[in-house]
Subunit: 346 residues, 2 copies
DNA sequence: TTTTTTAATGCAAATGTTTGCATGATTTTT
DNA sequence: AAAAATCATGCAAACATTTGCATTAAAAAA
């Protein structure tokens, strides 16, 4: 009968060194009141015995965890998986773990998850709210429970919280200006769901550029899609071709719809970029593989995650010193000019 | 001075109902020795007061958590993000949370993560081992700590543990046979890193098909790449074209290299699929967007995650009844025939 | 009715760590 | 040299829950 291998505890270290458990605990949290000499002795013993704190007991007592909840609509979307990659990377380095949830854009599930994170004392939460989310009470409650919060990508004016976004307006404006500079005069836009702020901004940026350059804005040259899928892109592009005049520049709200437009236009004998220039959004892998490669906006998803984690952890750790305040970071996007819009090189 | 909003505990419920904390606890875990009548009374009160158990205190006392550690090389790879999506979906439904880590294929980081999961009493672990991982002591240790383990995608004979894989050998064999049936005689293979079992199997499946159909295997028709990137694919395809005879069928170990091959061959005036048929692997989004669409093998990543979670949770919950045994599940792949290899429709 | 069995609940300990307060030792100030 | 200040450490309580064992009440058996 071997007795069950019991976990080494702080008390074992204490006993071995004739010190109190309190002292060991203080050494481990680098408490200033402990002398350097005992710190060394304890740390050596800790290493020797291969001890490490029981994080659960620790959380239980201190009412703090090292776990960050991340909620996104779905993680098998290139953009989100990149953001999460950035979050994980930074969080891990700072000693935090990330726990991931998919809301599938369901408001009910989102509230459920938030509730559970609150209940399990998450150190902080990073969220990209779902499409259905119009009310933010669940997130406000987090604030009341003193759990820091960072929103990314989709945000809301309604909520006083830290945010990491790209400037969709500006990015879309820049994309449009780029096409104008390539000589396009009849510009079209394949838009995302207009209930979503970021897609609304992309449309606004598009309009703004037209206005600025005194080009006409034509309602029938804007095609809204629901989910910006490749299939919807095809339909939108085909719809554009039904107009009496055909656009010579198409600003697409993502790369799938841009890829679809490329295909449809080509199939209809419209040379890209000579007769029509196309630019997408997000810099998906496909955009650099298609022929011609598709110009796009790089949305710096990985960096967005990195920054979100950074802001969040800062807030978590500043919380004790009561310097809680919100930041809004706008990640720089980059215009990537490729074959689908670059007329000079042709 | 309002007093700090304290958490509602099991004791508050007990007091309110003139019962003991023990009883409340038992109701909450549906203990058989509690009468139905008190169960109802307690449950009602719990709802009324909006109480829920403190998961940390609960874990602390019971030495069990509801958290599953997931380790993958990186999550911003389409395949892994799909697997994780499947894991999350199933785990969430069963009341488990998933905590995600990226090993970046580093053995050291991998052991570090496993160690930490062990230390934090993970309920179970799902892992796709990194490329550097040749020894499995860290994972064996998990078993000794009684933490169930499921490997996915990359596995090893060395380790006695549950596994979820696709039959790469068979999938690659089927892909090759498909090309042969399209009339290809000179088959080439663009291979993945041959230190990785799954890529080795894809090569073996390729060879097996040639043998079976009595076609010659030519060493110079196999090009190994390190990471199966689009760029490497281009180099490999160009290298293939340097041979005196040019292959008329190319089995690629993933869709990026297939896409690259498609481009290189076309640029060299080789009609696809007429002069050369191409098939990829994994069914990445690009494969259905390129023109022609690329035939491929769907690796059912989402399902793989689902199954991995299912097996793991089963093990976690059976652990108490000591029925611990290992399962190996082979997920069915699906041959997807598209324009890059379908000669009949042309 | 008395005894035995069964059912339902309570008692109290135990989990590993943190932390306010107390204490003792040492150093500095007067 | 005494008093005051500083430094390093220990004591013990507290955290919310679970669970083995004990207890009481009710039901069944004798």
């Amino acid at each position: 009968m071997k007795k069950k291998e019991a976990r080494i505890t702080i008390k074992d270290i204490a006993k071995a060194l004739n010190l109190s458990a309190a002292t060991i605990s203080r050494v481990l949290s680098n408490h200033p009141a402990i002398s350097e000499s005992t710190k060394k002795i304890v740390n050596d013993k800790v290493k020797e015995m291969g001890f490490s704190l029981d994080p659960i007991a620790s959380s239980f007592r201190s009412k703090k965890t090292k776990s960050i909840g991340v909620i996104c609509p779905r993680i098998d979307i290139d953009f989100h998986s990149k953001v999460i990659s950035g979050i994980e990377e930074y969080a891990y380095k700072q000693g935090y773990q990330i726990t991931i949830f998919q809301s599938h854009d369901s408001y009910i599930k989102e509230t459920e998850i938030v509730q559970m994170l609150e209940n399990s004392l998450a150190a902080g939460v990073i969220i990209c709210p779902g499409l259905e989310t119009k009310r933010y009470e669940h997130l406000k409650k987090l604030g009341k429970s003193n759990i820091p919060l960072v929103l990314y990508d989709r945000t809301s004016e309604q909520l006083k919280a830290s945010k990491v976004i790209i400037n969709d307006f500006e990015a879309s404006y820049n994309a449009t200006v780029h096409l104008i500079q390539q000589g396009c005069k009849n510009l079209a836009h394949i838009a995302g769901n207009q209930n979503v702020d970021i897609f609304k901004s992309r449309l606004t940026g598009f309009k703004k550029a037209l206005e600025q350059y005194k080009l006409p804005f034509q309602e029938q040259f804007v095609k809204e899609t629901k989910n910006l899928t490749y299939e919807e892109g095809k339909e939108a592009a085909e719809a554009l071709l039904l107009n009496t005049s055909i656009p010579d520049g198409i600003v697409c709200a993502n790369d799938y719809t841009a890829a679809a437009t490329l295909k449809v236009f080509r199939n209809n004998g419209i040379a890209i970029p000579e007769k029509a220039a196309i630019i997408g959004f997000s810099n998906y892998p496909i955009s650099s593989i298609l022929e011609p490669q598709i110009s796009t906006i790089d949305d710096s998803a990985y960096e967005m995650g990195l920054v979100a984690a950074k802001i969040l952890i800062q807030q978590i750790e500043d919380k004790e010193m009561q310097v809680l305040d919100y930041q809004e970071v706008i990640i720089k996007t980059k215009l990537i000019v490729r074959g689908s819009s670059d007329r000079k090189q042709n």
